[in-house]
């Protein structure tokens, strides 16, 4: 029994967490007593220190640090028997696992749980907004609902689900047995439940959850009740997870490509995650900094943002957006990669302008760091900054446009397999174009002066992040579902899911453009009577949109449990992940692949992307049939 409790695992993690609270008391009480405060009464100090210590106590208990601790104190590290690698039962998904495929599934499932929770919050918001003067929740709870909705969607869904999909397929795509740092990879994942529980836990804080938006502008955030600290610290853990994963991707991509896989033979998903990881590594420390400022302001009275004490309010926004604008691309570039994979395979054509696709990703990385102040056009920042920021913001549309046009040209004259993944990809192209167009409009400063912080911006962000990112996520999940689970999903349900989502997505978010321009600000629990009709329509559409997701959940759960077995390569893809079994062997490749050509040589007679050394399982060349037809 004792031995079982001492063994690393979820139970040890849960047991260790209260010890963290004890340690927090041990640290706080003497300091408070020595400083002349009443040592016990004030719970906020204990709470904030606990929120820093308990996550580490949990992770240590879980066993995420066991190997490093053994190594650091000179104890013999356990010989690598790969016992922590791979999943034999479902229980293996609930422990520290070093297999990138297990971690990928952990990421994706965990992220979708938060997608459902955060989506539910959005539906509750729409209950409040269904009628003017809504009494469903009070204003403070409403402010909390949209703040937590956005924070969970960004930090616990979009960013990690992309990391999860890439975690699963990227090492396979480059012919690597795993990620470069498997233990760091496991730690990266386990930081996420910590962040998620902190953010959700804020609802139980006295004074309610954090309610200053996902942007948490100071001084609103520095003067808010204790719930704000849950955001301040939760984001730190999500950010740390992000940075660690990005480093892992960078090292994996740079050092672990299969023989013959030059950079320009990498699939575009790999390029996309390479670019994204560069963004994450450079940008994410800035949001950490912004939240440390807030933490110190709140907890210790540093007055960074207290104008009355010489603080600078705009500093917060500059630091915050220096991360959070690149974050928009962190939430989009991996999706670009997924779409490139899906479109090439399902059109049976090479990606049009492969090199331009790769270069445009890098262009977005560079330009992405030069545009942050376009979120601050109306913030009172120096007026001279408006013109340069408008120019750089508008220029970003060019590489993005290159990608759209290249996908269109890839579709042209292809043989389009219009299954679920392809539908999502084609839906993405049109919806994301709309989001891009409203983005170019918002880049034009005079128009931004009018519609900034209105529902027009809400519409824009959802066309980019839902019509953009989420559509690519669905495309990716359907596309790799056979590879990840070894089962096929139900195609008919997949199509239903796509069409219901597409329709209700547009009914929900398109009218928001109109009410925004007409004068409805965002983040309000109540609104003027003139917007009543539109809001009622939006509310009904949003509930239908939420319900459409249930089709997806049902399809995934039922297909995973009892769907037809998937063959190794159901889409006849050329990239490496399709050349191994579904699901892949525990160390990915039974024989090392050697890359001999580009990843998208569809229609080229006899072309292959890679050959396997022993020659036993050389994939059937995708162009073989075209060659046969020619004879």
């Amino acid at each position: 029994m004792i031995a079982r409790l001492r063994a690393p695992g979820l139970h040890r993690g849960i047991l260790a967490t209260p010890l963290g609270i004890g340690l927090a008391y041990a640290i706080v009480l003497p300091i408070r007593a020595a400083s002349g405060y009443h040592p016990v009464l004030d719970g906020t100090a204990i709470l904030q220190v606990s929120m820093i210590i308990c996550p580490f106590a949990f992770l240590i208990g879980l066993g995420a640090f066991d190997y490093w601790f053994h190594w650091a104190i000179g104890r013999p590290t356990r010989p690598e028997d790969h016992s922590g690698h791979g999943a034999r039962t479902w229980k293996d998904y609930f422990r520290v696992n070093t297999d990138h495929k297990v971690i990928g599934v952990q990421y994706v499932v965990h992220s979708f749980a938060y997608f459902l929770i955060a989506g539910l919050f959005a539906m509750l918001m729409r209950v409040q907004l269904a009628q003017p003067g809504g009494k469903f929740v009070d204003a403070n709870t409403y402010n909390g609902l949209f703040s937590v909705h956005a924070t969970l969607m960004i930090f616990l869904f979009v960013i990690p689900v992309f990391a999860g999909l890439a975690n699963f397929v990227l090492p396979l795509m480059i012919g690597a047995p795993d990620m470069a740092f498997p233990r760091l990879n496991a730690l990266s994942f386990w930081l996420l439940p910590v962040a998620g529980l902190l953010l959700l836990g804020s609802f139980f804080a006295p004074g309610g959850s954090f309610a200053s938006g996902w942007t948490a502008y100071a001084p609103l955030s520095t003067t808010a009740p204790i719930g704000q600290a849950f955001f301040t610290l939760g984001v730190q853990f999500a950010g740390a997870s992000s940075i660690a994963t990005a480093l892992n991707f960078l090292v994996t991509i740079i050092t672990m490509r299969a023989p013959g896989m030059s950079f320009f033979r990498m699939p575009l998903l790999v390029w996309a995650n390479f670019s994204t990881s560069l963004l994450v590594v450079i940008a994410t420390p800035f949001i950490a900094a912004s939240q440390f400022f807030v933490l110190l302001d709140r907890g210790l009275g540093f007055n960074f943002f207290n104008a009355g004490q010489g603080g600078n309010v705009l500093l917060y926004q500059n630091v915050f957006w220096f991360y959070s604008h690149p974050a928009v691309y962190i939430m989009m570039l991996p999706g670009f990669g997924i779409i490139s994979e899906v479109i090439a395979v399902k059109s049976r054509k090479p990606i049009f302008g492969y090199r331009m696709m790769a270069f445009s990703l890098l262009a977005i990385v560079v330009l992405g760091f030069t545009v942050w102040a376009h979120h601050m056009f109306t913030s009172g920042m120096p007026a001279w900054l408006r013109d340069p920021m408008m120019i750089t913001t508008a220029i970003i549309a060019v590489p993005t446009g290159v990608k759209i046009f290249s996908w269109l040209a890839t579709l042209w004259r292809g043989v389009l397999h219009m299954d679920t993944a392809m539908l999502w990809a084609m839906g993405f192209i049109t919806m994301f174009t709309l989001g891009g167009i409203s983005g170019v409009m918002l880049a034009m400063v005079p128009l931004d002066l009018d519609v900034s912080k209105t529902y027009f911006v809400v519409a824009h962000i959802h066309y980019v992040l839902f019509g953009g990112s989420v559509f690519t996520i669905f495309a990716g999940v359907y596309y790799w579902f056979p590879k990840m689970t070894g089962r096929m999903y139900d195609e008919r349900l997949g199509r239903w899911h796509f069409w219901t989502t597409l329709i209700f997505f547009n009914l929900t978010f398109a009218p928001m453009h109109i009410i925004g321009i007409e004068g409805m600000p965002r983040r309000v629990a109540d609104y003027a009577l003139q917007f009543a009709t539109w809001n009622l329509l939006i509310s009904f559409a949003s509930w239908a949109l939420g319900l459409s997701t249930l089709i997806f959940v049902y399809n995934m759960v039922v297909s995973w449990r009892g769907g037809p077995r998937a063959v190794a390569n159901p889409w006849r893809g050329m990239t490496l992940e399709w050349q191994v079994s579904s699901p892949p062997p525990i160390f990915n490749f039974d024989s090392m692949p050697t890359v001999v050509g580009g990843p998208y040589e569809y229609g080229v007679p006899g072309a292959v992307h890679a050959v396997f050394r022993d020659g036993a399982d050389v994939p059937a060349p995708a162009g073989a049939l075209a060659m046969a037809a020619k004879e």
């Binding site: 049009f352 209105t454 037809a629």
Partner: protein, 317 residues
């Protein structure tokens, strides 16, 4: 696959006639889209000269961007219809076209040129709406959770204090320079009828210019999340005639007489008009009662400093 065997293994290119037809359909669809975009009454009433300039920019953006969306959507829809895999084509591949440098240069350069044109246009609009016009009055805007307060530093009450009001009264056709402050968290002063907003930031003074050109009452809305009462942080803008403004001023204890300087007039005599305004704005006569609320609450009302006075503000922007 029988029919493709022998000729080419790939889909044949489509005929020129089809291309012309599709392009024709696209042009018609773009035309319809533009018309719809222009017909939809997007905007609330415009009540400032700056608003008309911004509306025009918006409609130009509609005209430019609708065809982009129509182009993308029609290619997607056309591909779905024309290039969809048909029975018997399960093992067919597309032609291995890897790219076309000419095409790629075109679709990089054309959007870049379009964007550059839009940016230049927007920059001109941005400059135009910020231009200082002669005869400008200054109005202080103060945000506090969850109310707006307006001060008129050039119009003093009986105690010699600037007039303070909870609703914004502006005379028609008189350029206004808003000086915006906050006493607690960030708020945003948005006048949809002006199409303009700017944050009220604690510690710094922000602002914008507007010239009201339409009588009536319009909403003033806080657009920056500022806490519990954010959604109720609203008030009303009243654009009134010179006579009405004069009455309103005297109700608030102003002893002088407001003189309307029309823009046509100020254009003729810009310098002297400003000094005439100055004479109006500094009354020395008897004073009546002032708003009790402003004196009691201890707000940091905007005080007219020398550098913000219209007579000395020329060329500061």
């Amino acid at each position: 696959m029988e029919e493709t065997r022998g000729s080419t293994p790939h889909r044949p290119p489509i005929s020129r006639v089809t291309v012309v037809r599709v392009v024709g359909l696209g042009v018609v669809a773009a035309g319809i889209g533009i018309v719809i975009g222009l017909v939809i009454p997007w905007f609330p009433p415009a009540a400032a000269t700056q608003a008309h300039t911004i509306d025009t920019l918006y409609y130009v953006l509609i005209i430019v961007t609708v065809p982009v969306f129509v182009l993308v959507t029609s290619v997607v829809l056309f591909s779905a219809w024309r290039w969809r895999m048909r029975p018997g084509e399960e093992r067919l591949d597309g032609p291995p076209i890897h790219g076309n440098t000419q095409l790629e240069v075109i679709w990089t350069a054309l959007p870049a040129a379009l964007i550059a044109a839009l940016v230049v246009y927007a920059a001109i609009v941005l400059h135009d709406i910020g231009v200082k016009k002669p005869g400008e009055i200054t109005v202080g805007v103060i945000g506090q959770q969850w109310e707006w307060r307006f001060t008129y530093p050039e119009y003093h009450d009986a105690q010699g204090q600037p007039i303070v009001a909870l609703q914004l009264y502006l005379p028609l056709d008189r350029p206004v320079n808003f000086k915006i402050n906050s006493v607690d968290v960030i708020h945003t002063f948005w006048v949809p009828a002006f199409r303009l907003q700017e944050d009220a930031v604690p510690g710094i003074t922000t602002g914008f210019r507007a010239t009201p050109d339409r009588l009536g009452s319009y909403p003033i809305i806080c657009t920056q999340l500022c806490g519990y009462g954010h959604s109720t942080m609203r008030t009303t803008l009243h654009i009134v005639t010179a006579a009405q403004f004069n009455t309103w001023l005297s109700e608030h204890g102003y002893s002088g007489t407001y003189t309307q300087t029309t823009s046509a007039h100020t254009r003729r005599t810009s310098g002297s008009a400003a000094s005439g305004l100055l004479a109006d704005a500094r009354p020395g006569g008897a004073h009546t009662a002032r708003s009790s609320r402003s004196s009691a609450s201890g707000w940091t009302a905007y005080a007219p400093a020398a550098e913000t006075h219209p007579a000395t503000k020329e060329g500061s922007q």
